[in-house]
Symmetry: D3
Subunit: 198 residues, 6 copies
């Protein structure tokens, strides 16, 4: 920064291996998204700062995120976060497990479930229906090539429709992308996430 | 379709396990994207028809795609397609290997390279620099959790910058998402792709 | 329990798939170990209750535990817990990640490090020397058959002696046993662990 | 070659990392096999040229090949090639996927099936019976140690006899050998294969 | 050794990468355990000499061993050794396969069964009930995180109680520890084991 | 057998899941091969009896075997058997580990080396050069697709030529075929092998 550059609106930590853009230099829509989340959460999650290095990818990423995580549908918001947390730990993605673990605790109003689902969802305090959802999500994450009719039948046996299957698969697939980018960019979870909802 | 429904503009094959929307029912922007690609390619690739089942996801998917595949950058368009083809075969995604194999043949003006890269890029008629690019892409696809400074150094030894590394990683990660959705939806490659560019 | 049986000293939750012995029925040495830890921690960690089903195994387990975790040595107590947490998450052991995550936070006086090490120690706020320690621990956990001179040399390059290597290996190996027993018995982490040291 | 040596009957490309013998120097039976295939196919597939470096192994290899691929039996010739193509892509063998993909297209009179079977046979335009055949072939290729009565029963449920099971297993096993030799010798597929049968 | 040091009671081979303690320097209880086994077997198995480098771990290790291998229970002594041999070969532990292979031959009064079980227990001359026991032991060894009710049911279908399941799991888990320590310490099997019981 | 059928020349055990041909019904060359080995070894190894079910495959199999195992070359006969034993245990092939373990003991005049190499060749009483040979053989067996110049260089660093590399690879590849057929046919090792050379 030159001496004349304005102070950044957000404190900028070493939150990744790529340059984090100065807020003032960002396109208006991206800055707006950040200030909105900051007002709501009290801080800007680092995923916004890291991905803002590439504005077009930022926009597509969050549009995809919202299309899956904010839409109506049979999966509760907590269930969507369970998918994120379980698949992200299998992919060893620190950012996603810690940030979405926090969101899961809040959405599920349950301080224990996120750590349980992260480590081994088969032993978590969740329903069999939710375990079937996570079985499918994990299969999509690890071996989608082998998904077939039998998997849809198993889901139907627990009351999940084919549309729900799309939702589960898309969340697992999208966060597989997110996990890879977070690991490559060295995206650091904000300290705030660790205690939210406990 | 009722007798009164207009004939579909595109012949609709059994191209996936989810309903393929009637063209007339699609939002204008999505229909426009399809007619544009149809004019250019002579047919509508099935990925457009399958993903149109979910318009918001469709928009985010192609915005992400274009942000990575149409942007300026050090990777040639053929090199980007190499990443798609190599990682998609490792993920056993029929649609992506066959469709992007066609695009790779055309972009590289080389009728042999797509099949070579799909099966074993280490033995393909490509440069050592391109093999280093694919080594990194495959690592992102399979074990992004283990990516570290050493990988960036290996890339730099072949003239790839850290920004190029982001590009490579993002393409591998995005098509990882695409591979999973194609496998879950049973997305069928159009017959036209098999012979394009041979 | 018959009406005359004394109330259990500890509330007994459904903490595993095997019977949890009534405290009064336990041998004196095992009961003493439990009351001692209860006085110190304020509760009885479930690993004591689950393993007390087999008194001889209980005694050997904790003797082994203490021989590795309470002994003098170059590894700090926090470093020993890092080994437990990293290898236990790779083994998907809910009890060990959550209980020893708590102990790690306390021993390291760091509320963030346990979650970081659990998900991906390569990205944690720990020293390169500690990462080398965990590289070795993970190799012992996953592919001890392939450990050789090169691994001891790598450790020595970070100031770890061969005796330290034994310590690291033994902790990884012992908690590999613990992880397997916790998963088979369905050992539930006590609720208290989730927030300790945050 | 000395100035006096006769011009080679076949153009000799850099088709592998080992020396390719001069045709004139080859034993009569091997030369005859090559000229026969050349008359039929119009070119000499590189597998003949690469393996001719070791005449005894050449003879045993092709005797084995013929015993499996030219014999009578319940498997059609196209089905045998499906086994080769599916298992060879899993083994990342460029030569076998590309050369036998061509043969499969011709034998099946189907320009699409080879690429489909190579990438993910579960999604290919083949019968359930053929998918069961390929499930078994893939299991033999990857984890033959785990083959048991249940696998023979599954085959019988699709009308495959135990003799057919031997055929399927032997083809998967033989091309596993072939895949490994092709990868180690760097065997290059002839350019002609890429477009045959499309 | 200085000239004055007493001759060691046992010949000391290069049996591992860590120092082997002089017998005279060992605590009485450890020396007694060694002389007892020597009287019975005619030699001191190297596991005693290697682990004596750490007396506290030695005591806990053998207490655990005895609690599992010497106790009463439904598993015969030969069956317990089958678990050791099968899981130890999967873990590539030379000491445990060779030493416990000898013990298995003796306990089963069968000179063939140890080598059969080591390489592929599914093809061994053992009962279906014993194969079910080993299926469970192998699952505990490799993927205990995935053990669930279905596994206990499979065992019950072969007459194994839940208490037996604990025994099987504990033996697999304990020898997983032993395998890792033997591989890291380079523990050499005594020559005597190779021919015992043949 | 009808009462009039001649007694079989060899006792026929349940040595596999496929029919074992009556000796009298076999083609002369195959019977001769069997009687020759019987005179030399004192018994007919079961691989001859099992594979004789398919005479053409039998002939090709043994021609290939002899081309690799009986030829001149830099690899000693014991070294060739080491390759068989190490790769066959990784493939969990009971017949090959036990039968070729016997041959290795005899060829190496060493009663210990076969069991050591089978379980973990890295810890066996063999030279570093032989370990490099087995590193390469294991890579060919498991991931031949990844073999490249670096592997040939490693071999050359231990005095192995590229021709030797072919030999090593071919033996690993051929016994990979043999392992798969033995596992699928349920080929039982003859009792005689277990003690030969001990």
């Amino acid at each position: 920064m030159t001496p004349d550059s304005p102070a950044p609106a957000f404190p900028v930590f070493a939150i990744g291996r790529f340059p984090v853009p100065d807020l003032a230099s960002l396109p208006e829509d991206i800055r707006l998204r950040m200030t909105t989340v900051q007002e709501k959460a009290g801080f800007v999650p680092n995923v916004f700062l890291v991905l803002a290095h590439r504005p077009d990818e930022f926009r597509a990423f969050f549009a995809y995120h919202d299309a899956l995580m904010e839409k109506e549908g049979n999966l509760t918001k907590a269930e969507r976060e369970m998918i994120v947390v379980a698949t992200s730990n299998a992919n060893q993605c620190q950012y996603c497990v810690i940030a979405h673990g926090a969101i899961l605790r809040i959405r599920a109003k349950n301080p224990l479930v996120a750590d349980q689902v992260a480590v081994n969802y088969r032993k978590a305090d969740i329903s069999d229906r939710q375990k079937a959802m996570l079985d499918f999500a994990m299969k999509v994450s690890r071996s989608a090539h082998d998904v077939g009719e039998r998997d849809f039948e198993l889901l139907r046996g627990h009351g999940w429709s084919d549309e729900d299957a799309w939702d589960i698969a898309a969340i697992a697939a999208f966060f597989g992308l997110s996990n890879r980018m977070a690991n490559v960019t060295g995206m650091r979870p904000n300290d705030e996430f660790y205690t939210m909802g406990r």
